[in-house]
Each structure stands twice: as C-alpha cells, then as structure tokens.
Symmetry: C2
Subunit: 233 residues, 2 copies
C-alpha cells in the first residue's frame, strides 16, 4: 500500500480503488494488499500468462493460459474443446473462476531462514467467467490477446478466418472482485540477527527476451518488425 | 512427448512414468502432455513459485506461493494464519488442491493470428494436501524450501527457532497424479500462409538474475557467497 498511496491519492477521482471483499482481504500480511486500480492494471498488463482456477467434480484445477485486459474485462481463449472453456460454454449463469497473475522481482535472502522471502507483484481476480458469443466482442478479444503478448502484432498478421473463429472459444471475466498483493524492498531480519556472518540482501529477478529466431520458411525480404526490435533490446 | 521419448525409453526401469488418469489426460493437445518422471522433476526443480489452487465456499482460489520438491513429495509453507494452510490443518482427511508450475520459454509469432502461441513447460499436480506435523519432516521441508530457491542457502542461515517453527505451517502434496504439458519448437502456420509478408518466428524468453544487492546493515567483511556468484553469472 505504501508504494501506491501517493498515486491513489492524486488519481482517486478518475480511478477509484476496487472494493474490499471477504475474498480479497488476505488473512495475513494485509499490509501487502492493494486495491489500487492503476496498480492492478499495470501488473496485469505486464504479464500475459495467468493461472486460471476452476472447480471440477469438487476439486480445484489450475491451468496456465494466455489472457488480455480490455478496460475492466479480462479475456481468455482456447480451443472449444479445452475443459474450462467448454465448461463455461455450458454455464450460462457463469463459471466460478479465479485468475491469478504473478511477477517475481527478487529473491530476498535474510540472515535467518525464517525471513527468507520473494519480492513479487500478484493480482488475484475472483468472479464468474462467461462465454463470449458476440462476434464483434470475440474478434476484439482475440486481437487484444495477440497484442497483449506483442503490442502491434494483431495488425501485422492474418486475422482468424471463419473456421478458426469457430474453433476458438473466448471467455470473459470482469474486474470487480480484485486485489493486488506485493512485497518490495529489502531484508527484514530480527535486530538480534544483524551481526550474524551470513550474507543478506536481494537478488533481482527479471524476464528478458532473446534475439528473435526467424522461421526458416520466411518469405524472402521479410524484415524483423520494429515492434520486436524495440521490445527485445 | 517427442522430446522425451528417448530418455523415457532408456530410463523406464529406474523411473517409471506417472500413470495417466482422467484428470491428467488433457481434452486437447494430448500430444503435448508427458508423464515422464524425470521431465516432471526437472520442470519442478527449475522453478520455485507455484500457483496453488483450492476450493473455498464452492469457488476456486489460486495463490502464488513457494514450494520445494523432496523425492515424490512437494512442500508448501506459510504462516499458520494463511487460508490454505489453515484449511489443510483443519482437514485431517486432506485438502483437495491443484499445484501448477509454469515456465515461459518463448513467444511464437505465426503469420496467422490463430497460430500464435507460447513455448512453455508446465506441471500440474492434483491431490490432497496434508498438514506436516512431524517435527523432523517439517524441519527438512523448511530447509528444502530455502535450498530450492538458492541451493546451499539453508546451511548458510540461522535455522528457525521454536517460536518461528510454531508460526510456520507446512503442507505436503504427493506426486501421484501428475502431468507435464509443453510446447517446444517453431511456428506451425498453414501451408497457404507461408508466402504472407508477416514476420514469423520465435522470441526466446528467459528468467535472469541481476547483481545481488547487499543489505546495508551487513556485518563488516561479509563476502558474497559462492552459491550466489555462480548462479547469477
């Protein structure tokens, strides 16, 4: 909360925080939770793989999948045959899901084993997923899914044809019951441990992109697009 | 499966694959699934943050958390006050969970929007989580959790004292119902799209470690340990 307080204060009128609910207030480390809308959007926009949870036969299932944010909606897509999408298609009342996105930013090495930790930023979204049947919304969601991974890419690829659209299911989850949880900063050792001879500190963790590897069958003269040279520098 | 076939064939006697179950055979892209024990272990050992799913009031909850593997057991720890750990402590019959680990290895940019994909390696574990009450198993699990993030670290930090042990809950999930799912390789465009002028290929994605940032209160003369200089090169 500390990190985002100034931004929340100045932007409150345009972006009110998400409401706290029983499900979004953690039972521990509540000081690490945030409901700041801009912060939640930033965490969601920086990643593209989420972990989607749903319940099947009373047991939880968690699958990694791509997602995209469009305003206050999240979209997930997949084959019409995939389980959560098929289950959503059969649930006009909505399928209860939990969509979680996590960035790992650092390893926190304390002098004591107990205070070892991870610097991270996570967003947890609770809600009902609905099958997207409106053709225009479905197309826009598919463009957003491609652009969420590589901004500008949907305009530089062949759009889905009828057959491909029919084979693809899209589900929507609204950002209504949402929280961010994050740990930032350094080591929190006990005062009596400070003199111990163990190294303590933070090892930064980052996701980096390597040099793009072109498809061997690329049409002659096809240049690497600028949106890739810029994002992979 | 293709990638692991030779290894599976030669090591079958020492490491039989995990059995296929209704929950571990995907409804789509079954060719991307693997039950190879060594492959599953390798994917689990390379990461340290998983997404743990459980059911609360009939709805799924997915939380990021650290984990460690010890043989065919996975361990997760946390405050005794955290929800899934508290729920497990109150469920002597075991809490149904799903633990998922995902590595993103590359962005696959196809000429067609439809064939865009991600190269990834994931492991999904279904099962019952049990509260670890045996003191020796709990201590070993806590050491494994620290060493899973930074190998060798548990021996170079102050072990948990009685109060810290009492404040920490550890749960165990056995590797019995397990599958890996992975996509590797290049672009799979339709033959009729190959001449399109869009760039296609794979952008590699990697997790890298930055220069360790020492705690400002480090005891004088404390050197960066060798297990950090080696892992962060």
């Amino acid at each position: 909360m500390r990190e985002t307080a100034p931004r929340e204060a100045t932007r409150q009128e345009t972006a009110p925080p998400y409401p706290r609910t029983d499900r979004t207030v953690p039972t521990r480390s509540a000081d690490r939770a945030s409901y700041d809308r801009d912060l939640v959007h930033a965490i969601l926009d920086e990643a593209y793989v989420c972990h989607l949870g749903f319940v099947r036969d009373g047991a939880p299932v968690v699958l990694p999948t791509l997602y995209a944010r469009v305003g206050e909606h999240l979209y997930v897509h997949g084959s019409t045959g995939s389980r959560p999408l098929r289950m959503t298609g059969r649930a006009p009342e909505g399928l209860p899901v939990c969509l979680t996105v996590t960035h790992v930013d650092g390893l926190v090495l304390a002098r004591s084993a107990f205070h070892h930790s991870i610097n991270y930023r996570a967003v947890v979204v609770h809600g009902l997923a609905y099958d997207v049947t409106d053709p225009a919304e479905k197309r826009a969601a598919l463009d957003a899914l491609v652009d969420h991974v590589v901004p500008g890419r949907s305009a530089d690829s062949r759009p889905a044809n009828k057959k491909e659209l029919a084979a693809t299911a899209v589900i929507r989850l609204d950002l209504t019951e949402v929280s961010a949880k994050l740990r930032t900063g350094g080591v929190n050792d006990e005062p009596e441990d400070l003199a111990l001879p163990h190294w303590a500190g933070v090892v930064p963790v980052q996701r980096v992109y390597g040099t793009p590897v072109p498809d061997p069958l690329l049409a002659p003269g096809t240049e690497l697009p600028s949106y890739l040279t810029e994002s992979t520098c």
